[in-house]
Amino acid sequence: MIAAPFFRWDWVFDHWGLIGEKVSEHLVLTGIALGVGLAISMVLAVIGLRFPRTYPPITWLTGVLYTIPSLALFAFLVPITGFTVLSAEIGLVSYTLLILIRNIVAGIQGVDPAVREAALGMGYGSRRLFLEIELPLALPVILAGVRIAAVTTIGLVTITALIGQGGVGFFILRGLNRFFNTEIVLGTALSVILAVAVDLVLVLVERLLTPWMTERTAEAS
């Protein structure tokens, strides 16, 4: 059997402060990525909806970004933007784009055409129509995408440890380098816990924002 105790709780309690610091770092990195990602995705989605011919190239490009291994992408950014939060964020944001754009577009397109027709017939201009009718009704699908993007991003943040950021990935990397299992387990477990917690929070947010919904939407892919 493994010689030393596999997981040392005393180490965890001794380093509570550091753990807290890394968890915050992790959440901040995730938050920025989601915020920026959502903003960019909203713009690209609106363009894709307004000019349908741009949609295939947009999805193609974001799809390619999604496929590039994160390791490669982060490593590639370092010579350009250094071992900085910026490098991490450029990579993290890129990975959110595909799912967010897809869900925003699907959500808007999924709005009941009768509702759209009634709104137009009553005299809604296209801007107010989008903001007051289409967007709110697309929220469930959009938020489903945000949930997926959030969980994915939290996992990816761990890899940014390799370029000096990392959040709880810091523990994974350090544990790996010094063969210290406790840190590896801690880092991984924290990542999972954060993902589950953020997911739950987003579910609550969705319920708060959409009081008119009966059946909750199943996750859109």
Partner: protein, 362 residues
């Protein structure tokens, strides 16, 4: 109020104009129904009035103003629009839905609240519905909410596109009656599209029968169309029971009533027999002054007077308001083959099958 002049609509990729040089006038305060087979352009025509579809050529004016003179969304805020699937906003309460156009027009809070309350009462929704979401309402209630929403800003003109198509016939009949009732009170100018000729006949002050391509085959009050269809297309479209459809438009009060084989309870049996022979029937009715007690078979006569006879009540009593169609139904289904007519409780006369035919033949 609404005038369409040589309006044409060609859709790109279509095999011909959807609407070709249609000209139509809608007077203020009337309900005009556009009816016709699929592809006749009735919905397209309706949508051109509020520019959800832009005409390819021709002119449309509402209250004398060309509809192209201002931005489309401004026009639409002054025209009520009701569609079959209603399109209530699921993320807003009924009150918020109804308040849509007033909000777009910038009314103050208080005025909007009052108006919403007024409309909810007007369309017969319970006040408690205000803060419910559309998904909590039944089909008929949603339809009423849709109508209330269209009426919110008190538009002079309403466009309705098969609004009652999605509900069951019982609810539909009720909604039609409520619309007529509303119209009596509000006197809006309404353009109504349907594919159901019965609905057109029931609701329309004037009905336009459209053929493919938006060709107006006949445009007249429903009674006139039913009486004198202008060509074979219209005749076929009206259906083979044209005569019976006409009956639903004529009120009992409009035709002369006959006395029928009625005798006073104090009359002799001989008088009763003589009455029955005159009318060629084997039964007679018994009056007590102006009150109709009921009827009896000839074979019930026993002795020289009517004393001792238990009159059977008439199963159906028609009011003056009833249509000849109901009268005919009563006549066909009863023993007596006449329909007794009452003004409240007072017996005023009878209608017979012959009487009805005579009316149709006029």
């Amino acid at each position: 109020m609404i005038r369409l002049e040589n309006v044409t609509k060609v859709f790109p990729g279509g095999s011909g104009p959807a609407v070709h040089e249609l000209s139509l006038d809608v007077a203020e305060g009337e309900i005009v129904v556009l009816v016709g087979p699929s592809g006749c352009g009735k919905t397209t025509t309706l949508k051109m009035i509020n520019r959800l579809v832009e005409p390819t050529s021709g002119r449309i004016t509402v209250a004398g103003e060309d509809i192209m003179a201002f931005p489309a969304h401004e026009l639409r805020r002054r025209v009520g629009y009701v569609i079959q699937q209603i399109g209530l906003f699921p993320h807003r309460t009924i009150a918020e839905n109804i308040a849509t156009v007033p909000r777009l027009l910038g009314w103050e809070r208080a005025r909007i609240d009052d108006r919403v309350g007024e409309l909810i009462r007007l369309v017969d929704l319970e006040p408690g519905m205000r803060n419910r979401y559309p998904r909590e309402l039944s089909g008929g209630q949603r339809q009423r909410a849709g109508v209330a929403r269209a009426l919110a800003a008190d538009p002079p003109v309403m466009l309705m596109d098969e609004p009652f198509g999605a509900v069951d016939p019982i609810v539909r009949g009720r909604l039609q009656d409520e619309l007529l009732d509303l119209q009596r009170r509000l006197r809006k100018t309404i353009v109504f599209v349907t594919h159901d000729i019965d609905e057109a006949v029931k609701l329309g002050d004037r009905v336009a029968i459209l053929n493919i391509g938006g060709i107006v085959e006949q445009y007249a009050p429903p009674a006139e169309i039913l009486r004198d269809p202008s060509n074979s297309f219209v005749e076929t479209f009206l259906g083979s029971d044209r005569g019976i459809k006409r009956l639903s438009l004529i009120r009992v009060s409009e035709v002369p009533l006959e006395d029928g084989p009625m005798v006073d309870k104090s009359a002799t049996a001989a008088a009763a027999r003589e009455c029955m022979e005159r009318y060629g029937v084997d039964w007679f009715g018994i009056l007590d002054g102006k009150k109709l007690l009921g009827w009896a078979w000839a074979s019930d006569l026993d002795g020289s007077s009517l004393a001792g006879i238990e009159p059977k009540p008439f199963e159906v009593r028609l009011s003056l308001d009833a249509s000849l169609r109901e009268a005919l139904d009563t006549i066909i289904t009863s023993h007596t083959r006449v329909a007794p007519v009452f003004d409240g409780n007072r017996f005023v006369g009878t209608i017979t099958a012959e009487g009805i035919s005579r009316e149709l033949a006029k």
